[in-house]
């Protein structure tokens, strides 16, 4: 489908917007909806290097990861916990400025494509760079479990977009899809935990 490649600027810009929004949003419902949208755009970007059917695997695994997270957050309540006192500044102004600065750096680094991966189209490389940079920012400035988890998944998505041009094999796509699901499950476990799993709650004497 040639239009996927022709319109690849749309997902590149949209991926940057969603990744930036993930850093600044506090509402957990909006966070998960934005993450799901980001998976759509990341899959679109990956489709520039992969057959659409294979790229769709990334979308499906990503949406499954979002569902796993949504179930856990719903179980815990949608209200986001406050960031730990004494940690990094977490105000909206700080996050907006950080997103702006990091996005500029990502644009500067990624606008001409990656010379190391000549098969990667410049616009796709730009989208991947936005996801990588903003994902790292999210991991770096957040302490809330869901936000860090979203940051890790954003980082992974950015990497996959670039790596798809290097290694388009089905085995890699499948393994990386399992990593997305695994990260979502682990983050869910950290959010919810398993009742009675602590050592102090053993039934055995």
């Amino acid at each position: 489908m040639p239009w996927i490649r022709d319109l690849v600027l749309i997902p590149a810009v949209a991926a940057a917007l969603t990744a930036g929004l993930l850093v600044v949003l506090d509402d957990r419902r909006l966070t998960l909806a934005t993450l799901a949208a980001q998976y759509l755009f990341a899959a679109w970007l990956a489709a520039a290097s992969l057959p659409p059917g294979v790229a769709a695997v990334k979308l499906v695994s990503g949406l499954l990861a979002c569902i796993v997270l949504a179930i856990s957050v719903a179980a815990m309540g949608w209200r986001a916990p406050g960031e730990r006192a004494g940690a990094l500044p977490t105000g909206h102004a700080f996050r907006w400025i950080a997103v702006f600065l990091v996005a500029i750096v990502a644009f500067a680094v990624g606008r001409d494509g990656w010379s190391a991966i000549p098969t990667l189209e410049p616009v796709v490389a730009l989208g991947a760079m936005f996801l990588l940079a903003l994902g790292m920012l999210q991991i770096g400035i957040s302490e809330d479990t869901l936000r860090v988890g979203a940051g890790i998944l954003t980082l992974l998505s950015g990497f996959e977009v670039a790596y798809a041009a290097v290694e388009p094999s089905l085995a890699v796509v499948a393994l990386l899809a399992s990593v997305h699901l695994g990260v979502a499950l682990v983050v869910s476990y950290l959010l919810v935990g398993i009742p009675g799993a602590a050592a102090g709650q053993e039934g055995e004497g």
Binding site: L155, E167, L170, V172, L175, A199
Partner: protein, 463 residues
Amino acid sequence: MSAPAVIALGTLASAVLAGLLRGRLRAAAAAAALGSASIGVFALAVRLEQPFLGLGLSLKIGSTWSLLGRSLILDEGNRAAVGFLYLAAAFLFGGSWVARPGRYFHLAGLAAVGAVAASLMVRPFLFAAIFLELAAMGAVLILARPGRSSRRGALRLLALYTMAMLTALLAGWRVEILGAAGGTVEEALQATVLLGVGFSILMVVPPFHHWLPAEADAAHPYALAFVAILLQSAGLFFLLRFLDGYQWLRDNFALYEGVRSIGAFMVVAGGCMAAAQATFSRTVAYALIADLGVALISIGGRTPQGYQLAVGLLTAHAIGLAVCTLGLTVLRSRTDGDHVAALRGTGRKAPLAAAAAFAGLLSLAGFPLTAGFPVRWSLLQSLESADLTSSLAILVGASVVAASALRWLGILIAEEAGGETVQPIDERIFLAGGVFFCVLFGTFPQLFAGIFEAARGFTNLLP
């Protein structure tokens, strides 16, 4: 049937059994330890690609298991490492009989061990990075304790290992393109930098060490010891595989010099940080970083003996850390923490636990007559005057950590009200056994000879 499939099925069966027995921790510990030991023995002893008689039938175990176009291969190159991994895990699962790190420790632990074993067997081996990420996920499940508000350490571990996977995949791709020749200087430099970042994360090189002290505060000490041993073993074998696979990497003297310098820094900085901590578990965490620095110095020596000593250090490290955290777990069960005030005098109530914690920490320091000493001594002899800085770093690091161990001993045996409490017999057996192991490996260094074989598979490193 292929050997990797048998290992995978054995791991799965043991994990399921341990999961089913999660309500009976001792049974789960026994199932995990026996299952893991059996798989380890199988990996070491199985006759690959040779027919043999079993149950009256002619059987042949293949070495290759193909999945989705990729292969898991058990061969002479990696069977010792896989066997070592499962036997070390069996040792640690055995100790969980007393330590009781949690209901899902054995299930998640076996899954993580299986992922690390797959990382050793997978071809092309750059896919190992993905299995290491899966192992890190298992590690997070082991470390996270319900009821604890702090998830910082576990989240950092997950984030760092994800980054390590990404850099290792990219580095692996670059290295594959460069091939044996190494390409241009710039290309080789790009690949080396990527590899350096990935391995720095895997080997807990500062500043990628933050998850370890954070988890020392939050996680069960024995669970943290298991995770540290497992992940660092995986990282070390991954590094050795890369070095073994590419001549141009082995010929990069600057890389080896850098590894030695980083190792020396870790030994001194880790030792000094260990001495400055107010909690026992944090002291152990920094002593562990110092210990890993010694392994890096050993690899940085760029000698066959150095590679073998690095694997030997892993074993000493596993024994010391397991015994130390086993003792600490028992001590913590009698107090409300492991800071100085809480542990003061607890050694008088539980002398064997205090002895185990002390002996384990001394072993991590590399004190004479403990498991950590013979390998360090061999390393110092091999370095001789060729690398005075590294030798001095090892001596300084060992002295500072040993002094820190003595400080903690003083706290543990300080005069306090209350006499010795009764320790269950199984607890006493395990603690005494742990101390015995520490001293046994320190007194009879020849026991390490068999362990050095785990490095034999790296035929280019050990011609």
